[in-house]
């Protein structure tokens, strides 16, 4: 969502608020952040609008600023924690309390959760708060919910819908298993988050019952009407028949070996790496592990762009940190060598190689 649009309309005036909240939360100043939020509500800003057009854009900016190396990981977490506290503080404002349904009022019930391995809880938290403002009974389960616990919760509470948030594309295989398991309980699933792509194509691919591009769209979709019950018996392989070629399984299962092979290969090709510190070596191994993980995800989805997109993003991050982007190419070559018998893997690697070369920023030497 974009809360920083210029011009008239409901977003006008939000820009200042976004800036104020951003300044406060990125500085770790809880009090300034909460003051800004409470003052906005005092001034008549609708709590839902504040959540969707101020908090959400600020949170989105946290990720952007981190990727651009303008804030540290510590600041990233701190800003997120401050934003969480701001939401907590809002709950006590009269404008929010007035919106709560009376006790005993029959409310529509939803479960909102992040799938296992997903720790970016803020979008799910915002959706929960917005639905509550709209009178829903929301069970917000937070970040990283193990699937068996989620399913047990669904059996116990029987919600009308479960909303699952995923921001990281490499979690999509897990998300797929979770979506299918939720549907098997007869509960329709709405998904959202950056992992599903800008147009939600992966949501369709993975058989979700509905997709929303942002918190507002999700709330609208759910308020609009009940989702129809999902097809009960349904296996993940039904959605993605290409998985029978076992390429995903192989890459996912042998990921540590692939990382080891690539790391050794790089050391052989670039004797300079012998001089790496432990820290540098560790970072190189982690980078390669990410590459392998994304390769696995691209195989799972059968989407070469999922992999090349990640490499371009990584290249951007590397460049922001003073590392030339083409340092990624030798790793791709080594994986290509290792996966010689896997046609889909090779096609994905070749595609990424081309995309990366075309976007090449001049530079020299391997690095990590």
């Amino acid at each position: 969502m974009n809360g920083t649009e210029q011009g008239a309309g409901p977003h006008a005036g939000m820009n200042d608020l976004v800036e104020r909240l951003w300044d406060a939360s990125s500085a770790g100043d809880e009090y300034a952040a909460a003051d800004a939020a409470l003052a906005a509500l005092d001034g008549g800003v609708d709590p839902e609008v504040f959540l969707l057009d101020v908090v959400a854009p600020v949170q989105a900016r946290v990720g952007v600023e981190w990727a651009a190396n303008r804030i540290t990981v510590a600041q990233e977490h701190t800003a997120t924690a401050i934003n969480e506290r701001v939401i907590g503080a809002l709950a006590h404002h009269d404008a929010v309390r007035a919106r709560r349904p009376a006790d005993g009022a029959a409310a529509r019930r939803a479960t909102v959760a992040c799938i296992d391995g997903e720790w970016h809880a803020m979008p799910a938290r915002i959706l929960s708060e917005v639905l509550r403002l709209r009178g829903w009974h929301v069970d917000y389960l937070g970040a990283q919910v193990p699937t068996p616990h989620l399913i047990a919760h669904l059996h116990q509470t029987g919600p009308e819908v479960v909303a699952l948030s995923s921001s990281i594309i490499t979690r999509l295989p897990t998300a797929h298993a979770t979506i299918t398991a939720c549907q098997a309980t007869g509960t329709p699933v709405l998904v959202g988050g950056a992992a599903y792509g800008g147009d939600g194509a992966y949501a369709t691919l993975l058989g979700a019952d509905a997709w929303a591009s942002n918190g507002r769209a999700a709330a609208e979709r759910l308020s609009g009407g009940q989702l129809s019950a999902p097809v009960p018996v349904h296996e993940t392989i039904d959605d993605l028949p290409h998985l029978t070629d076992q390429e995903y399984t192989y890459v996912a299962r042998t990921a540590p070996e692939l990382v080891r092979f690539t790391l050794d290969g790089l050391e052989e090709r670039f004797p300079d790496m012998a001089g790496y510190t432990d820290q540098q070596r560790r970072h190189t191994a982690e980078d390669i592990a990410f590459i392998v993980e994304f390769l696995g995800t691209a195989l799972y989805l059968d989407e070469a762009e999922a992999f090349s997109g990640f490499l371009l993003w990584t290249a951007g991050i590397l460049v922001a940190r003073g590392v030339p982007a083409h340092s990624l190419l030798p790793a791709l070559d080594l994986l290509d060598e290792r996966l010689a018998d896997f046609p889909r893997s090779r096609a994905i690697l070749t595609h990424a190689h081309e995309v990366l070369r075309k976007s090449e920023v001049p530079g020299d030497g391997p690095a990590a």
Binding site: Y31, T78, A81, R85, G88, H92, G117, G142, A285
Partner: protein
Amino acid sequence: MTEPTPGSGGLHELASEPNWKNAPHPVLSVDAAGVVAHANDVARLMLPVRPGEPLTEPRWLARAHAEAANGPVRGVAGARIFEACRTAADSGGHTVWWLSDVTEAQRLADRLAVERARALVLREASNELLSSLNLERCMEVTARLAARHLADAALVIMPKFGRRHPVTYCGPDGVAVREYLAVDTAALPGLAEALRGFPPVPSRWIDPAAAPGWVARRELGEAGAIVVIALPGHGVPAGALVLVRRRASCGFDDDGPGPAEDLEPAGGGGGFTEDEEAFARLFAARAGAAISAAGLYAEQASITDTLMRELLPPKTQRLDGVELAARYRPSGSRERIGGDFYDLHPAAEPEGEALVVLGDVCGKGLEAAVLTGKIRNTLQAVLPMADDHQRVLGILNEVLLNTDTTRYVTLALASVRRQGPQVWLRLTSAGHPPPLIIRVGGEVEAAATRGSLIGALDKVTSVTDTVVLEPGDTCLLYTDGITEARGGPLGEELFGEARLRRELAGCGGMPPEAVVERVHMLASQWAGAGFHDDMATIAITAPRRVHLSAVGGHGRGRFTA
């Protein structure tokens, strides 16, 4: 032998005897004007046709002729069903209709269609019912499927819960509605019996006109037939299924039997056939099993919930002038009750010490839950002695040794006291990883405390460390699920304390929620899809500046993820 042809039909007299006269099937020829020219013996025997008279009966055949329909048509004549095929009109304009008796074939086809449809219903029922362990959802599915396939409306009625019966009703619109009704089940014959597990009351004993209004609802108009079927449970009845049909559905469609589009009867003067009732019982057996399984599950889950509630940390996370955040991530395994717990006892008096406890009980599930409860109760009781950690641990050890369990626990105790801008901590580890102190500038140090685990040895010893947190400093208590997470880029490597300390070096000055989030994120990423145990962390932070606002600590901790 042909009957003499009456009337003016000179042409018919002239027409030569057809060569199909002795065919074993009904055959007739009809002229361009729609008058029957010839009909063989079989045709005249089985059909209401007379040569020389216009073809009016059977109506379906007359219609097919008039419409010059191509292809075979089917219809009833007398008690039989015929299929009729035409031959093209000859030069004299005569069309010959050949009929064959397909009564038996039709009966078999109908039967097959019914059986197929029933198999489909049972399959659908099994799929939908088996996938849910939610009682309300199972009742809804049962009512919906029954209303769609077995009747016009269906009710699933549960035994009384308090003073009312949980009822799910589904009408012809296919929408299942949950209700709680205070009704007298004796008003509908067979219902009270079904709910108590007595043999079924024959449906012919039920007078639909006398059925109470909550069964035969107004939207149905006049009820034609009602049947009550027990939903068999595990030894006890799970409830009852009531099927209601409108009088209209029980009527007779005289335009010949069509293909069996539905399981509802095409005739029979109203009510459910014996065959249909038998099938409804088959359906009810599955629904009953699913409903009682869901009931059992709900009961178990509520026991777990009660235990969990008992084990949950107190909701308040506010300590006087100290920031606190806790986070718990259960292991991915199916056990819903983990072995990690945490507790918070605020100070008894304003300047006093609060006590924070993080524990890790060996094992999981019910036994671990019971032990955790015992530990928490004991700690609560010995709270007045909390100024002496060693003594508290000694008492706890004795209590655990005196129970018949071989389980033990590791604990980290933190007594917390605000002193001006500083926070003073007394930290004791009993077989637990020592707490880590993250200074605002990023230095990380381990508290100098160690001690034996509790519940295994006759004597326990421990060393308590005193640590002062300056504004922005954080003390992190964590369970070994963090450091023992296995994985990493090369697999099978321990996350380990060294890595944890290195990562924490980047966390100086962070709010406690951010620290616990960061630690959980790193450990989970490290473990990836690999196994990890429960992970619990508590961060205690000295506020970076004096509290002026009332905002601090509103955010509820998410100890249960």
